[in-house]
């Protein structure tokens, strides 16, 4: 960063002459120091996972959750400054609640992402604030069923509705990632935090959009493996894996955002550790070969 000291990095509302907002770029640096978060959107649901770095042995194991539920069908995970993330989640809950108040229906994931993107962006505009030091991953499952209006009397008539659009699919799993600039895109697989490079490389190997797309349970196991692969043993020794998932109404969570059950998580962790060990053995062989090559030089 050669521009440090030029004065253009001191406040949010000042552009540098080449059109950059340094405060936002510094916020991205804060994210890059945070524990790795990933999200996987597969054909029948969404999985969120985070590498929770254990800062102290005095912290209670399994407490201090990092993945938050925003509405019954929505979950958020983030990398970066945890207090910023907590505030961001509060805002997400307010938005979801406000939508339900006016429209009497759950907020679609895309609309929540749009509103949160707008909120994040507003913190890049003013002298009096700093940008969020987080990148957030928002996962949701918009109901594919004809959901009733909240508070409607009874379940409504079983008969009557005619003239539906034939063969059209509605709802489904969705995944968005929102950056400190306010930029957000929809993803099949998203990764952020310190291990994002390795995680992205692993996500790209998965078939998430094709016809043979991953099942939800497979995605849970992949998510666990990717967090383990992205974890750097040399920098942080201890970490906990936290995972949540959202399926459709006919899936294991019945459309709700929930923590992955202990049994499945432990099974996924066992497989992840096994896969890592295998990888390491392979790596050792390669390294030996390389060293051999060098000797010949």
């Amino acid at each position: 960063m050669t521009s440090i000291g030029t004065g253009y990095d001191l406040a949010n509302s000042i552009f540098s002459p080449d059109g950059r907002n340094f405060q936002v770029e510094y916020a991205v640096k804060a994210v890059e120091n945070g524990g790795t978060s990933i999200g996987i959107r597969c054909k029948d649901g969404v999985v969120l996972a985070v590498e929770k770095v254990v800062a102290s042995k005095l912290l209670k194991h399994g407490a201090n959750k990092r993945i938050a539920t925003v509405d019954r069908h929505l979950g958020v995970v983030y990398s970066g400054m945890v207090p910023d993330g907590r505030h961001f989640v509060d805002r997400a809950r307010d938005e979801a609640r406000a939508w339900r108040d006016t429209f009497k229906t759950p907020i679609p994931t895309a609309d929540l992402a749009s509103r949160l993107g707008g909120y994040m962006q507003a913190y890049t505009l003013y002298q009096s604030v700093r940008p969020f030091g987080i990148t957030a991953i928002v996962g949701g499952f918009d109901s594919e069923l004809d959901t009733p209006v909240d508070g409607e009397v009874g379940s409504g008539p079983k008969c009557g509705a005619g003239g539906k659009g034939e063969g059209k699919k509605h709802g489904g799993p969705f995944l968005y990632m929102i950056e400190p600039s306010g930029l957000y895109w929809g993803y099949y697989g998203a990764a952020t935090g310190k291990g994002r490079q390795a995680a992205k490389a692993e996500l790209e190997k998965l078939d998430l959009s094709g016809s043979g797309a991953l099942s939800l349970e497979e995605a849970v196991k992949e998510a666990a493996r990717i967090i383990y692969v992205a974890h750097d043993d040399n920098k942080d020794k201890e970490f906990e894996l936290e995972m949540s998932w959202i399926s459709g109404a006919d899936g294991p969570t019945k459309g709700k955002h929930q923590e992955v059950p202990k049994a499945l998580r432990e099974e996924a962790e066992r497989l992840a550790k096994k896969a890592i060990e295998k990888d390491l053995e392979g790596d050792d062989d390669e390294e030996e070969k390389k060293e051999g090559d060098k000797m010949e030089e």
Binding site: F103, K104, T105, G156, G162, K164, K168
Partner: protein, 229 residues
């Protein structure tokens, strides 16, 4: 304490104003209905607006658009229902723009309900919301005086509706063809107009399907036999 005929004794906090209209307020003492059929929904209404015994308008349009394929039938105070429909039309227009997709009938119904419930002490509005959207097809919601929301296969409302409960129960069928459905609405409203003194004039209908909104008009001159425009 005096007990009048209006039932409006609210000093004791128990009796409420049964005469919801103010003196001289324009009333839609009405016959309105909306039904689901094979391809969507049909809304129907008479056209009489009264101030007491005087017919203030004999060709009123009680079927009001709030979005392209979401309409409502209005009964009660003309002023109140127009004001509410205006607010909802604005909200749905804004919804379509900000979300890049048309609102569903239930979105419309819930906005109507919010307004009717929050202002229940001040409004006299009996509304029927009917609409077509791609996801749910044709849907009918009824919002009576207190601001509750009821999803129904078909709904009837207004003073004239009391005369046609039996007719509708006996003759409404699920999945009617458009011709049969239009005929059903017409026959029901004819009966309501015949028996209800505060209903009358022409019969108006709106047919909402994937093809959009289609208006019908039937005049009493031919006993509502001919469709105009």
């Amino acid at each position: 304490m005096e007990f009048g005929t209006s039932g409006s004794l609210n000093e004791d906090g128990i009796h409420v104003d049964m005469d919801r209209l103010k003196k001289g307020e324009v009333n839609l003492g009405t016959s309105i209905m909306a039904i689901t059929f094979k391809d969507g929904v049909i809304l129907g209404a008479d056209s009489r607006t009264t101030t007491g015994a005087y017919i203030a308008n004999r060709v009123t349009d009680k079927l009001t658009r709030v979005h392209d394929t979401i309409w409502c039938c209005r009964s009660g105070s003309a002023a109140d229902t127009q004001a509410v429909a205006d607010i909802v039309q604005y909200q749905l227009g804004l919804f379509a723009m900000t979300n890049g997709k048309p609102p569903t009938t239930q979105t419309a119904a819930s906005i109507f309900q919010e307004i009717c419930y929050a202002n229940k002490d001040r409004l006299s509005a009996g509304l029927i919301i009917a609409g077509w959207d791609e996801r749910h097809g044709g849907q009918v919601y009824s919002i009576p005086l207190g601001g509750s929301l009821h999803k129904q296969s078909y709904a009837i409302g207004g003073s004239g509706s009391t005369y046609i409960y039996g007719f509708c129960d006996a003759n409404w069928r699920e999945g009617m063809e458009e011709g049969d459905a239009v005929n059903f609405v017409k026959e029901a409203l004819k009966e309501a107009i015949k028996w209800d003194g505060s209903s009358g004039g022409v019969i108006r209908m709106v047919v909402l399907t994937a093809k959009g909104a289609d208006r019908h008009l039937y005049l009493p001159d031919t006993d509502y036999a001919v469709r105009h425009n």
